[in-house]
C-alpha cells in the first residue's frame, strides 16, 4: 500500500515530521516498508554573491555562492546567465546529479577550485531547458531545499498492510489509525454529493447471494477529459497510470477511500438492464486489462441483455468501459462475497486492486457514501447532471456488539490500562463504547471478540510499552524435555557422526522418476505426489531417504570429493496419513573407507562398513542388536541382490544394508559402487521400562577363560551367522563368546564349500577347566555343527 505524505495529511491533521509518522505507522502495526524521497532533496536555493571572469577560460565564470549554511562556496560555472545577485539552485559536493548521471566531486577547473555546482533544469530532470542555470525570483529563500521551495517534496510512503486490516487499504483508514495516537487528528472526509434527480436508464437486478448490495446512479452529459494535475501526480506517485478523469476517479476512490467502484458507459449497456448473477459455463469477457477470460458457474458476473460486461468486484469489461467519448456514465458501488471473489480471482489468476480489497472485506456500509463522494469528483472534473441513487439489495448485517470486560486487557497484556484511556482509543478507532458493551464499526469485519479489542488497545498503546516480565517455570527443576525417541534419535545422530559420517539435511521430496526405483508405487501411492511441485524433480514425497543421499554423494563426487560418508535423519513416506510418515535414518558411503596411508589399510567401502554403521546406530537408538538376525531373503530391489541384507527380529525388518543396485545407481546418475543402509526406526520395539536405575550386578568369574579355535568346512550357502549361533548354542553355560576370524575358499577346500574359522571363549564359573572338560565341550561343538549345518572340522 503506497501513498504520499501530503495525501495522508489531507486526512490526518498533524504537525509531526515524516520520521515520527513512519515510526508510528510501524508501531501501530502498519509496518513501514519504504520511504521514497525525491532524488532532488540535496539541492538548495542559493545566491550568487559574485560572478567573475575565469582567468584561464573565456566561457567560464568563477562564482562565489551562498547556500545559506554560513559558508561561501567557490563554483566554476559555464552558464551564460551566471551573474552576481542571481538566485539559483546549488548542489554541494557529493550530490548525485540525475540529469548527468554522476556524483559531484570536489574539483579544479582550469586551475580554479570548484566546490559545487549551479544547476540547470535539465540537470535536475525537471525540464529540457539546459540553456542556463535555474533562475529563481530575487526573494526565493536562500538555504531552503529546492524541493521544499517548489513544493515537489512529497515523499512516497509504502506500508505493509496485514490481511486483517482491509480498512487500511485506503489512505483514510491509515489516517484513522494514526489519529488514534498523539500525533494528530482525523480531518472530515471528502465532500460528497447528496441529491440528484431522475431515474437511471439502466436498471439492476441481483440474482445471486454473492452480491448483497448494488448501488448506482446515472450522471448525464459528462465530459471525460484528463484528470487535474494534482490527481495525476498522486496516482503516478503510487504507480498508477492516469487514464481519464472517470477511470482515475474510481482508482482514486479505491486508494483513498478503500472503496472499489466501477464506471460503465451507460450508452453501451444493451437492453437497459444489468443483472448480477452466476456466470454460465463458457461465458467470457474481454476485460479492461486487454485479456480474455472465460467463466464457470461458480463465478459472479454482471451482464447486460446480451453479454457479460464485468466480472463482479474484480475487473470490468472493455466494451462497456468509459472512454473520451462517454457522455452518460453509470457509476456503481457494490459489495461482494469475499470468498467468492477470492476463489474466482485465484482460479482466473487475476490480481486487481478491487479483488485485493473485496476478498479481504471492505466496509459494509460504504457503498452509498462512496457513490456520493465519487459523484462529487465527477461533477468537479467532468460536469454533468447526476440522477438519483438506486439501491438494489440490502446492506448486509454487519452490526456486532461485544461484551468487553476491560480487565481482560491486563489479563492478556500483563499491564493495567486505565479504562478511560482504553475507551478513548476504541472510540477514536470508530468503536462505540457503552459501559461493557462495545459495538464494532462497519469497516472492521476482522474484529470478532474481546481478544480483538484487547489487541486494538495494546497496539495503539504500543507493545514496547508493555513490561517485560520474567517467565518462570512452575517447578524448581524442569521436566525432561525429550521423549525416549527424541533422546535416542539424538544419540544415534551423534554416534553416526562419530562413525565418520557427515549429517546432511536434504529435501523431504524427490523426483518421481527416481522414487519409482526406491519403492514408490505410482498406482497405489499417487497421493504422495505434489499437486504443485516447485520443480518436476521434486514432485513426490520420498519413499526412502536413500535417493536424495545418493544424489548428494554424487554431487560431491562430481566436485572432486569422492570419499563420501553421508547420513540423514527424517521421515520416509508411504502414505499421507500421520502414521504413513515414519522416522527413518539412512546413510551412504562411496569411495575409500580409509584413505591411502603409509601404514596401509586403505580399501574401498563395502557392505560391512554400512552393516557396522547400521548396527552401531541401532544400538545407540536402543534396538536389541544382540538378537538381530541377518537375512537375505527380502532384499529391496534397489540393493545388490548378492551383497546386501536385512537386519530383523523374526519377520520384523529393522534395517537394510549393503551395496546399492547398479540400476538404482544409474537412476540417480552415479557410476561406480556405493553402499548404503536405511533404518526403519518405527520398527524398533519399544524398550521395556526397567525399574530403578541400578545396573545388574557384575559377577566376574575367579577362573581364567580358555580360548580354542575351530575351523569348519560347510556348504558355501551356510551363513556365517548360523555357524556362530550354532557354536554358541552348543554349551550356553560355558561358551561366553564366539567370533569369526577366518573365511576361506580355494585349495584344500572342496568346490561348493567354504572354511569358517571361529575363536571360542570358554568361561568356567565352578572350577578351572580340565583337559577332559575341554574335550567334552569341543565334542559338543563339533556335533552341533555337524548335526545342524552338516559341517565338518577342517582336517
Amino acid at each position: 500500500m503506497k501513498f504520499t505524505l501530503d495525501w495522508l495529511k489531507e486526512h490526518l491533521d498533524t504537525d509531526a515530521d515524516l520520521s515520527v509518522i513512519t515510526d508510528k505507522l510501524t508501531a501501530v502495526g502498519l509496518e513501514l516498508e519504504e520511504v521514497e524521497e525525491s532524488p532532488l532533496a540535496p539541492f538548495v536555493v542559493a545566491r550568487v554573491v559574485s560572478a567573475e571572469q575565469h582567468p584561464n577560460a573565456d566561457k567560464l565564470r568563477v562564482c562565489q555562492v551562498d547556500p545559506g549554511d554560513g559558508t561561501i562556496y567557490s563554483v566554476v560555472c559555464g552558464a551564460p546567465n551566471a551573474r552576481t545577485g542571481l538566485v539559483s539552485v546549488f548542489a554541494p559536493v557529493g550530490t548525485y546529479i540525475p540529469g548527468k548521471d554522476f556524483t559531484l566531486e570536489l574539483g579544479s577547473i582550469r586551475g580554479e577550485r570548484s566546490e559545487g555546482m549551479l544547476c540547470s533544469e535539465a540537470e535536475l530532470l525537471i525540464s529540457d531547458d539546459h540553456d542556463g542555470i535555474v533562475e529563481l525570483p530575487e526573494d526565493a529563500p536562500v538555504g531552503t531545499r529546492y524541493i521544499d521551495y517548489r513544493a515537489i517534496n512529497d515523499p512516497v510512503i509504502e506500508i505493509n498492510v496485514t490481511p486483517n486490516r482491509a480498512d487500511c487499504l485506503g489512505v483514510r483508514g491509515v489516517a484513522r489509525d494514526l489519529a488514534t495516537t498523539e500525533i494528530g487528528s482525523l480531518r472530515p472526509n471528502r465532500a460528497r454529493f447528496e441529491g440528484g434527480s431522475g431515474a437511471s436508464p439502466v436498471s439492476v437486478a441481483i440474482e445471486t447471494d454473492n452480491c448483497p448490495i448494488f448501488t448506482y446512479r446515472i450522471v448525464r452529459n459528462v465530459r471525460n477529459g484528463e484528470s487535474p494535475d494534482w490527481l495525476k501526480r498522486k496516482l503516478e506517485a503510487v504507480g498508477q497510470k492516469p487514464i481519464s478523469a472517470l477511470v482515475d476517479i474510481t482508482n482514486w476512490m479505491t486508494l483513498d477511500q478503500n472503496r472499489p467502484m466501477h464506471v460503465f458507459d451507460a450508452d453501451k449497456i444493451a437492453g437497459g438492464t444489468l443483472t448480477v448473477r452466476a456466470a454460465r459455463d463458457g461465458e467470457s469477457l474481454r476485460a479492461l486489462n486487454d485479456k480474455e477470460y472465460s467463466f464457470d458457474e461458480a463465478m459472479t458476473v454482471i451482464a447486460d441483455a446480451d453479454k457479460v460486461v464485468s466480472l463482479g468486484g474484480i475487473i470490468g469489461g472493455e466494451d462497456t468501459g468509459c472512454s473520451e467519448d462517454t457522455v452518460n456514465v453509470l457509476v456503481e458501488a457494490a459489495l461482494w462475497n469475499p470468498s467468492n471473489i477470492a476463489r474466482t480471482g485465484r482460479k482466473l489468476g487475476i490480481h486487481t486492486d478491487a479483488r485485493f480489497r473485496f476478498e479481504r472485506g471492505t466496509d459494509s456500509a460504504s457503498a452509498v457514501e462512496g457513490l456520493e463522494i465519487a459523484t462529487q469528483y465527477i461533477l468537479d472534473f467532468c460536469g454533468g447532471e447526476p440522477g438519483e441513487v438506486h439501491v438494489t439489495g440490502d446492506e448486509p448485517a454487519w452490526q456486532k456488539t461485544i461484551d468487553f470486560d476491560f480487565a481482560l486487557i491486563e489479563r492478556r497484556g500483563g499491564m493495567a490500562v486505565d479504562t478511560a484511556q482504553a475507551t478513548a482509543i476504541l472510540t477514536d478507532l470508530g468503536f462505540g463504547v457503552d459501559g461493557n458493551r462495545v459495538s464494532v464499526p462497519s469497516w472492521r469485519p476482522d474484529i470478532d471478540g474481546a481478544a480483538d479489542l484487547v489487541e486494538e488497545v495494546l497496539r495503539i498503546i504500543g507493545l514496547d510499552a508493555l513490561p517485560t516480565t520474567p517467565f518462570v517455570r512452575p517447578d524448581n527443576l524442569p521436566p525432561v524435555a525429550l521423549s525416549a525417541h527424541q533422546r535416542a534419535m539424538g544419540d544415534l545422530k551423534r554416534v553416526l557422526a562419530a562413525q565418520g559420517m557427515d549429517e546432511a539435511v536434504l529435501w523431504s521430496f524427490t523426483s518421481s522418476a527416481v522414487a519409482r526405483h526406491f519403492g514408490w508405487d505410482d498406482a497405489s501411492q499417487s497421493d504422495l505426489l505434489l499437486e504443485n511441485p516447485i520443480s518436476s524433480d521434486l514432485d513426490v514425497m520420498r519413499p526412502s531417504l536413500l535417493p536424495n543421499l545418493m544424489l548428494a554423494a554424487g554431487r560431491n563426487n562430481d566436485r572432486g570429493f569422492g570419499d563420501v560418508a553421508l547420513f540423514e535423519a527424517g521421515l520416509r513416506f508411504f502414505s499421507t496419513k500421520p502414521d504413513g510418515q515414519q522416522p527413518t535414518v539412512a546413510g551412504v558411503r562411496m569411495g575409500l573407507a580409509q584413505p591411502r596411508h603409509w601404514a596401509g589399510g586403505s580399501r574401498p567401502v563395502d557392505a560391512f562398513d554400512v552393516k557396522e554403521d547400521a548396527l552401531v546406530a541401532l544400538e545407540a537408538y536402543g534396538a536389541p542388536v544382540e538378537n538381530l538376525m541377518t537375512d537375505t531373503r527380502d532384499i529391496p530391489a534397489w540393493f545388490h541382490p548378492g551383497r546386501s541384507g536385512t537386519l530383523g527380529l523374526g519377520k520384523n525388518v529393522l534395517a537394510v544394508f549393503g551395496e546399492l543396485h547398479p540400476k538404482a545407481l544409474r537412476a540417480v546418475g552415479i557410476k561406480g559402487r556405493m553402499v548404503g543402509f536405511e533404518l526403519f526406526l518405527d520398527k524398533v520395539p519399544a524398550k521395556k521400562a526397567r525399574k530403578g536405575t541400578a545396573k545388574p550386578l557384575l559377577q566376574p568369574s575367579p577362573f581364567q577363560p580358555v580360548r580354542r579355535d575351530f575351523a569348519f568346512v560347510v556348504d558355501a550357502n551356510v551363513s556365517a551367522e548360523r555357524l556362530l549361533r550354532a557354536v554358541k548354542g552348543a554349551d550356553k553355560a560355558l561358551i561366553s563368546d564366539v567370533s569369526l576370524f577366518d573365511v576361506y575358499t580355494g585349495e584344500n577346500v572342496a568346490e561348493g564349500q567354504k572354511s569358517l574359522a571361529v575363536d571360542v571363549t570358554l568361561q568356567p564359573f565352578e572350577r578351572t577347566l580340565t583337559d577332559e572338560d575341554l574335550e567334552d565341550v569341543s565334542a559338543k561343538i563339533v556335533a552341533v555343527v555337524a548335526k545342524n549345518l552338516g559341517g565338518q572340522l577342517r582336517s
Binding site: 510501524t26 509496518e31 490481511p163 486483517n164 470468498s339 477470492a342 485465484r346 489479563r411 492478556r412 500483563g414 471478540g449 474481546a450 481478544a451 480483538d452 484487547v454 489487541e455 495494546l458 507493545l463 514496547d464 508493555l466 513490561p467 517485560t468 516480565t469 520474567p470 517467565f471 517455570r473 512452575p474 521436566p479 524435555a481 525429550l482 527424541q486 539424538g490 551423534r494 554416534v495 553416526l496 557422526a497 565418520g500 557427515d502 549429517e503 539435511v505 529435501w507 523431504s508 497421493d527 504422495l528 505426489l529 505434489l530 499437486e531 504443485n532 516447485i534 521434486l538 548428494a552 554423494a553 560431491n556 563420501v564 553421508l566 547420513f567 500421520p578 580409509q594 584413505p595 596411508h597
Partner: protein
C-alpha cells in the same frame, strides 16, 4: 688376613669387569665354595668365641657388600644391553598416525538442540507432528478458514488429488499445526517447543521450498504478553550469548494469535559485519503473540479459563545469524565441504550447564 685389602681388591675387579662372564668369575673366586671369602669363613672355627664373633660379623658384612656390588654391576650390564636394543628399534614418530575421521552434525541439528536446551530449562517439552498435514490442522483450526487471505500468503504445497479446499492435504506450511495436535491431546498447563521441517512453494536467494521452524506454545491460566516478552528476551539473550541484547516488538498479524507481534533483535551492521545484541539496527528474528481464543476453542479447551502465547522461530535464520552462515540455499545441498566447515563435532552436545 687383611679384610680391607681383600675388599678393595674385589671391588676393583668388579669395577673393571667387562661383561657378565667376567663378573661371574669374580663371584666364584670370592663367594664360591673355594672362594676367598668362603675360605676365610672356614677358618673361623679355630678362634676363641669372642674373636670368632667379631671376625664373623666383619666377614658377613664383607660378603654382603661384595654380593651387592656384583648385583649392581650386573644390573648396569642389563640396562646397557636394553639401551642398545631400544636404539635399534627407533622409528620416525613424525609420521602421521592412522587417520580417524569423525563426521559433523548439520547446523540445523545443533541449532535445534540448542533451542530445545534453552526452552527445556524454561519447562518446555519437545513435541512433534506429521509433515503431510490436513487442511484442518494446518489452517482451519488456526483460524484460517477456507478462502482466508492469509492462506494465500503461505504458498502452500498441496498433495495430488487432495488439493480442494476443505479436506485437502498439504505439506505443513508452519509448525503451528502441532500446537493444535498438542492442545487436542493434552490438558493444560502446556509448554511445548516444536522444531521441525516446514514447506512453502517458494525458491529464490532467500527462500527454499523446505525450511525449519521451532514453534513454542504455552497454555495456562495466566500466561500473558508481558511474560511472552520475558520468555523471548531470555531465549534470545541466551541463544546469542548476548546478555545485554534488547528486543523490539512490532504489532503484526497472524490469524492464530492476537495481539500478534514480530520480534526484532538489536544488531549492528556498521562494521560491515553483523553483530547481534548491540548497535542501532533491528533484525527480525521471529513472530509471536497471544494465542487467539478461537484456536483454543477449536482445540476443545475453554478459552475463558485458559490462555497463553505462541511463537515461531526460523531455525535457519537463527543458525545463519549465530554462526555467520551466509547463504540459506547451501543448507540443503549435502556439500561435504560445507558440512565439514559449518557442521558440529558430535561430542559438542549443547548444554547450558556446561556452557556450550
Amino acid at each position: 688376613m687383611d679384610l680391607d685389602a681383600l675388599k678393595s681388591g674385589l671391588l676393583e675387579r668388579i669395577d673393571a669387569a667387562s661383561d657378565l662372564a667376567a663378573l661371574e668369575q669374580i663371584r666364584v673366586s670370592a663367594l664360591g665354595k673355594k672362594g676367598e671369602i668362603t675360605a676365610q669363613m672356614k677358618q673361623l672355627g679355630g678362634l676363641d668365641p669372642e674373636a670368632r664373633k667379631a671376625a664373623g660379623q666383619a666377614l658377613n658384612a664383607l660378603k654382603d657388600e661384595i654380593a651387592g656390588a656384583l648385583d649392581a654391576r650386573k644390573a648396569g650390564f642389563a640396562d646397557a644391553e636394553l639401551d642398545a636394543r631400544l636404539a635399534t628399534e627407533a622409528i620416525d614418530v613424525s609420521q602421521t598416525p592412522r587417520p580417524v575421521r569423525r563426521g559433523r552434525l548439520h547446523p540445523i541439528t545443533q541449532t535445534i538442540d540448542e533451542i530445545v536446551d534453552i526452552f527445556g530449562q524454561m519447562g518446555f517439552v519437545w513435541a512433534e507432528g506429521p509433515e503431510v498435514e490436513d487442511d484442518w490442522h494446518n489452517f482451519t483450526a488456526l483460524n484460517m478458514p477456507t478462502d482466508h487471505p492469509a492462506r494465500q500468503m503461505q504458498d502452500t504445497f498441496y498433495m495430488k488429488g487432495h488439493s480442494g479446499d476443505e479436506g485437502s492435504l498439504v505439506l505443513r506450511t508452519h509448525t503451528s499445526p502441532v500446537q493444535v495436535r498438542t492442545m487436542m491431546s493434552q490438558t493444560p498447563p502446556i509448554r511445548v517447543i516444536v522444531p521441525g521441517r516446514t514447506f512453502r512453494s517458494d525458491s529464490d536467494a532467500t527462500h527454499t521450498p523446505m525450511f525449519h521452524q521451532a514453534e513454542g506454545l504455552v497454555i495456562d491460566k495466566t500466561a500473558n504478553m508481558a511474560q511472552l516478552k520475558g520468555c523471548l528476551l531470555e531465549f534470545c539473550r541466551t541463544f546469542f550469548q548476548a546478555p545485554d541484547l534488547t528486543l523490539q516488538f512490532r504489532p503484526s498479524y497472524f490469524p492464530f494469535t492476537e495481539p500478534s507481534a514480530e520480534v526484532d533483535v538489536r544488531c549492528d551492521r556498521s562494521g560491515g559485519k553483523l553483530v547481534i545484541g548491540e548497535g542501532e539496527g533491528w533484525l527480525e528474528v521471529l513472530g509471536s503473540g497471544m494465542v487467539n481464543p478461537r484456536v483454543i476453542e477449536a482445540c476443545g479447551i475453554d478459552p475463558n479459563e485458559y490462555q497463553g502465547f505462541a511463537f515461531g522461530i526460523g531455525i535457519e535464520r537463527l543458525a545463519m545469524l549465530k554462526y555467520g552462515i551466509p547463504d540459506l540455499r547451501t543448507f540443503f545441498d549435502g556439500d561435504v565441504r560445507w558440512l565439514r566447515h559449518y557442521g558440529f563435532e558430535p561430542q559438542l552436545l549443547p548444554s547450558l550447564v556446561r556452557g556450550r
